[in-house]
């Protein structure tokens, strides 16, 4: 789950990460007040779950409360399109009004989990303010990684190593060390998947400050972080994806017209590949997961059919934890709930497959039952 910048900063500040003074505003009046508290001069930043706000016009320096209100009025309620949002953009409901800072240096700092090392890693670079993917492509030698052993935590020699690589010395070394420790504590205690501070700035008076911050929390761990779970801003996500995730369904909207419903992420990707190889275009990625029940299948079908661009459907169920009889009953219930049934190809195999096929056959619905992936592809292409 992604946090907004202002939420991420508040979370990090709770662990001791220094952040600029400022406050979040939902109305132009609040923006005026926030800017005036800072003496008029301030930065107004649109709060959306995406990078690239600056170039998209989502970040403005203002010099008075009135000007802050103007910017806020323009941003709040608008849709910001950045290179990360896609063409549909992301809605702005709040702006963060912050003090301006005399920046001496801009650094990049993040923490994430390295699956290969099975450890959290610090990723850092002197090239702050740039997209790290870009730095990785053009100057991979400028990126340093420092894995942290979760058995013992982050040790001072590692902090010194990172500081040395970033050339953070003198007065800034101690606050930098405290910031890094604070990030690690936040990362572990809050089950983060990523903390990114870009840029991390060193000010002209040798202070260290998180000028921007992104935090992502492991969805699977939200059950033990009630307060953070409350911070979810569903307006930043596709409404269908939100509904799907509320039912534990992985759903990603795509550009085609073949609705795909599959159990298992790997088989879902394989099914999309098949559809494309057959010359058609998938309308979505949809994984109902291993332990789906009838209600979940029904909901998945209903959600998929609520997307009007879906003109035909390919269901591919390989019963393991999910039994085919359960899937069949869910399928029927979903079509009923959706109130429409486009052309439908169903491929079903595995646990209780015969029962499942019987249920579909007895439903009276017009469904093409196929046995293999190849047959499924052929049936879809045959439209």
């Amino acid at each position: 789950m992604k946090l907004h910048e202002y939420q991420a900063k508040k979370l990090l500040a709770g662990y001791g990460v220094p952040i600029p003074q400022g406050s979040v505003a939902s109305t132009p009046a609040e923006a005026t007040k926030a800017a005036e508290q800072l003496g008029g001069r301030a930065v107004v930043k649109a709060q959306v779950h995406a990078g690239g706000r600056g170039k998209a016009g989502g970040v403005k320096v203002v010099s008075s409360g009135a000007e802050a209100a103007e910017v806020a009025k323009r941003l709040i309620g608008s849709t910001l399109v950045t290179f990360q949002t896609g063409p549909q953009g992301a809605p702005v409901h709040q702006v963060l009004v912050e003090q301006t800072v005399d920046v001496a240096r801009e650094l990049y700092l993040s923490m994430t989990t390295d699956g290969g090392r099975r450890r959290p890693v610090i990723i850092a670079s002197q090239a702050g303010g740039m997209e790290i993917e870009e730095v990785a492509k053009t100057h991979p030698d400028q990126i340093i990684t420092e894995p942290i052993d979760p058995a013992i935590g982050l040790y001072p020699f590692q902090v010194r190593r990172v500081a040395e690589a970033l050339n953070v010395t003198g007065e800034a070394a101690r606050p930098f060390a405290m910031l890094l420790n604070a990030c690690y504590n936040a990362y572990m205690e809050k089950d983060c998947s990523m903390i990114e501070i870009n840029p991390l700035v060193i000010t002209k008076d040798n202070k260290v400050l998180a000028l921007d911050a992104k935090v992502t929390i492991d969805d699977d761990a939200l059950y033990r972080h009630k307060a953070e779970a409350e911070l979810r801003d569903k307006s930043q996500e596709d409404p269908l994806e939100v509904q799907a995730s509320e039912h534990g369904i992985a759903y990603v909207k795509l550009d085609g017209d073949v609705g795909c419903m599959v159990n298992g992420a790997g088989l879902a990707m394989a099914t999309m590949d098949i559809v494309k190889f057959a010359g058609a275009q998938p309308a979505n990625f949809l994984d109902v997961g291993g332990g789906a029940n009838e209600e979940k299948i029904a909901k998945a079908i209903e959600l998929m059919l609520s997307d009007k661009s879906v003109t035909q459907v390919l269901v591919n169920i390989f019963g393991g934890i999910l039994r085919c009889d359960v899937a069949a009953r869910g399928l029927i219930a979903g079509i009923e709930a959706a109130g429409r049934q486009p052309r439908m190809v169903v491929r079903m195999l595995g646990t209780n497959v015969d029962e499942g096929k019987q249920i579909l056959a007895g439903s009276g619905l017009k469904i093409s039952l196929v046995n293999t992936l190849q047959e499924a592809a052929t049936a879809i292409a045959a439209k």
Partner: protein, 294 residues
């Protein structure tokens, strides 16, 4: 032979009195696996399926029944505890089916296991099966499998069944099939399983099924290139997935060029693998590969 599970497997199921645990424990038993014990804290002393004793703790179950493989079905908040409990009790092979385990929990489990004798498969995996020994330790439908000489290893669950189904339909049997799971932090890797298949005299060819995301397929390719003389057929799914979108589980995120399907396929081809062009052609590719060896 075959790998990891066989006639000597004495299976313990953690969470055996739960819905999924009970369902699949019975299926494993019906397939032929020697199910010797279940563990559910607080239900020690009960019996399931009229004969399998339930214990309060893994250590007690191991002591009383000699269980040597543990299969875990407990809910995500308790999965780390279950994995560590089995390792602490000295169970040499632990398979965790549970999906949705917090990554931090898995990280601590894996750190705990460093230097220990216990091998973990999963979490978020379908388990493994050795058809020739009638040993099924997982949630795969047993009936699609057929004894034979091809070892299957996969990051995916249902896609593994797909692969097996295609092989069996063509009369190609399997030595063992291992689903290593798709979580970003997990136990046994492609390389670990390849080592076992490579050393197993009953495995003559290998099918590897990978996905976009991560670099585990590249590690597998490097290992194959350096060590594996047996023929390997390899499939990468997600070839048509749009970059940068999350596809179901965190392992399937495109995070740089190495994570791209094309890069993985290239690495595997360079390692001498027979690259399977489409998910519909797993069986036919393996058949051709085996034929070319004769």
């Amino acid at each position: 032979m075959s790998i990891l599970v066989d006639k000597n497997t004495r299976l313990l199921v953690q969470g055996i009195t739960g819905r999924e645990g009970s369902f699949h424990a019975e299926r494993c038993m019906q397939y032929g696996t020697n199910l010797v014990a279940g563990v559910t804290p607080g239900k020690g002393g009960e019996k399931v399926f009229d004969k399998v004793p339930v214990f309060n703790s893994v250590s007690r179950a191991v002591k009383e029944t000699g269980a040597n493989v543990s299969l875990i079905f407990v809910p995500p908040p308790f999965a780390a505890d279950a994995m560590i409990e089995s390792a602490d009790a000295g169970v040499p092979l632990v398979i965790c089916i549970t999906e949705g385990v917090p990554v931090k929990d898995s990280m601590y489990v894996m750190r705990y296991l460093e230097g220990k004798q216990t091998r973990l498969i999963g979490p978020n995996c379908p388990g493994l099966i050795t058809p020739g020994a009638k040993a099924k330790v997982g949630i795969m439908p047993g009936n699609i499998h057929m004894p034979g000489k091809v070892g299957v290893v996969s990051r995916s669950g249902t896609l593994t069944y797909e692969a097996v189904q295609q092989l069996t339909t063509l009369g190609i049997g399997q030595s063992s099939c291992v689903g290593i799971g798709g979580d970003p932090v997990s136990g046994t890797t492609f390389v670990d399983v390849l080592k076992l298949f490579n050393a197993d005299p009953e495995t003559e060819a290998i099918v590897l099924i990978g996905e976009i995301g991560g670099v585990k397929e590249q590690e597998a390719a490097a290992y194959i290139k350096a060590n594996v003389k047996k023929p390997v057929a390899a499939l990468i799914v997600g070839q048509t997935a749009p970059p940068g979108r999350r596809m179901g589980h965190a392992g399937a995120v495109i995070t740089g060029t190495a994570a791209l399907a094309s890069e993985k396929m290239k690495a595997l081809a360079e390692a001498g693998c027979h690259v399977i062009p489409s998910p519909a052609e797993i069986g036919s590719t393996v058949r051709a590969m085996l034929a070319s060896r004769k």
